[in-house]
């Protein structure tokens, strides 16, 4: 084989990949065996557990109902309340438009946004979207696949929420 084929670029690439793997293993070793995989780059799940779950709500019945006095109602609001109980967290509700809530989610001011979002939501470029946790048929016969919005790349938190929804709703 020529030196072009096994060139320095290839050797460099392999070295870099090996170094990255070593960094990964080192990170794993540093954090100890109790490390959760996947982990949150920004530590959302750690912060929420035993702390505060900041939830953005935008009205869309029957998923989120803001008409009644006091706390938000609706199926998703109830699910989130139970999720907070499981994490031993207090809920801090924030109401607003979808755009305002998504912006807050991107800006690390919210941990979770609900409001009857569907899996083909256009916000997918900006935020993390859960797996479809329930599917309903509308009056017109179309399928609606419902999801919740979470911060981008906070994968431990995402997995925790999806696990909860999987157990609660069973999808």
């Amino acid at each position: 084989m020529s030196d072009l084929y096994d060139g320095r670029a290839t050797v460099g690439l392999v070295k870099t990949l090996v170094r990255m793997m070593a960094a990964g293993v080192a990170a794993l070793a540093l954090t100890g065996c109790g490390m959760q995989i996947p982990a949150d780059p920004e530590g959302t799940l750690d912060r929420v557990e035993g702390g505060v779950l900041r939830v953005g709500v935008t009205e869309r019945e029957p998923w989120v109902d803001l008409d009644s006095q006091g706390e938000p109602a609706g199926t998703e609001a109830e699910l989130v309340t139970r999720f907070a109980e499981r994490l031993d967290a207090e809920i801090e509700w924030t109401t607003g438009s979808e755009a305002a809530l998504v912006q807050a989610l991107e800006g690390d001011q919210l941990d979770l946004v609900i409001g009857g979002f569907q899996h083909d939501t256009p916000w997918v470029q900006h935020v993390g979207v859960t797996r479809t946790y329930t599917e309903v048929e509308t009056a017109g016969g179309a399928k609606e696949q419902h999801v919740m919005l979470v911060p981008m790349g906070e994968n431990a938190f995402l997995v925790e929420l999806e696990t909860f929804l999987h157990e609660e709703v069973g999808r």
């Binding site: 690439l13 996947p38 993390g128 981008m152």
Partner: protein, 335 residues
């Protein structure tokens, strides 16, 4: 239609090359079958990982060289005719260009994509899937599928590299490069997804960038080689490593003939086979007979199966580009 494996156009292949060609055709079909499965499997689990997306697009583009090879081999088998007097060997050069451009495009696209992901600090979200009623982090599935796509391309690449040398086939060589890019991409995406798992969001895009840079480099190298071959650069070995020894062999053989004072050949790579124009300066007073010229031609053809299409030109002085005296101060007209 089954491709013939005993000849390239008018060039009959020696037994060894016939076997190599049969093997190459089989392994390219195997590659296509493997890629079809890999593209489906990786597509199902790709999700939001940059490196996974890179691997997926890479798999799709790696279909180009095998198809280019199979098509080129079929075309190269056609006999020369009045419309294509040099035969169809150049189809290999065109296929090589296609394969090179495929590599280049993929590398450029992926490099842009992953670097912009790094710059914008995109944190790729990877959630869960339910598989047979069990919930599972999708990252594990991604790493598993990618690990499965590593061994075969390593094997394919090694075999193709050997066959490429045997058959002097640069499309096979480019394809071997592509297979190398394939398994490296797979390894890189495992690193990237593992990084995401550890909460190191940048590792995915970083791994993808390094892979993309390596693919881009392969693309540039192959594209350059294909273009220079189409430009009739002097013939090189299958990997562009050095000038092909056949040119020197022809020169040595012709210079060794009793009636030849000096010889110099122009050899261009038609793809698989060479087209040779050999200039010979006869010794003073020893103009070659027709028999001597025919003998010289047959002698050259016997040097290597790749040499078939050869023109021998008796001339008073070698042209400069094949080792004649410098023409700086003289032109054809005032000599």
């Amino acid at each position: 239609m089954k491709a013939r494996t005993d000849r390239f156009g008018r060039t009959e292949l020696p037994e060894r090359q016939q076997q190599a060609l049969k093997r190459a055709i089989r392994i390219e079909w195997a590659t296509i079958a493997f890629l079809a499965v890999a593209i489906t499997a990786v597509g199902l689990v790709t999700g939001s990982s940059q490196a996974m997306k890179a691997a997926w697009i890479e798999d799709m583009l790696s279909l180009a060289p095998p198809f280019a090879f199979l098509l080129a081999v079929r075309l190269a088998n056609k006999q020369p005719n009045p419309k294509y007097p040099f035969g169809y060997h150049r189809s290999v050069g065109v296929a090589h260009l296609v394969a090179g451009v495929a590599l280049f495009t993929m590398g450029a696209f992926l490099l842009y994509d992953s670097i912009s992901g790094l710059v914008k600090a995109e944190h790729p979200p990877i959630g869960t899937v339910v598989l047979f009623g069990q919930q599972l982090w999708l990252g594990w599935l991604m790493m598993g599928v990618m690990a499965l796509t590593i061994p075969l391309p390593i094997y394919f690449g090694r075999v193709k590299m050997r066959l490429a040398e045997e058959l002097h086939d640069k499309v096979l060589y480019a394809d071997a490069d592509m297979n190398k890019a394939d398994w490296m991409t797979a390894a890189g995406s495992i690193v990237g997804v593992a990084g995401i798992g550890l909460g190191l969001w940048w590792m995915d895009a970083a791994a993808a960038s390094f892979i993309a840079a390596s693919i881009l480099w392969d693309g540039i190298k192959n594209m350059k080689a294909a273009i220079t071959d189409l430009m009739d650069t002097r013939a090189t070995t299958f990997d562009e490593g050095k000038p092909h020894p056949d040119a020197a062999k022809v020169d040595d053989y012709l210079s060794g003939l009793p009636w030849v004072a000096d010889a110099g050949a122009r050899v261009r790579d038609q793809g698989h086979v060479f087209h040779v124009e050999a200039f010979v300066v006869p010794r003073r007073g020893m103009s070659p007979t027709l028999e001597q010229l025919m003998e010289a031609r047959d002698g050259c053809i016997a040097l290597d199966w790749k040499i078939q299409d050869i023109v021998i030109v008796p001339i008073d002085e070698l042209p400069e580009e094949v080792g004649g005296p410098s023409a700086e101060h003289q032109s054809e007209r005032n000599r």
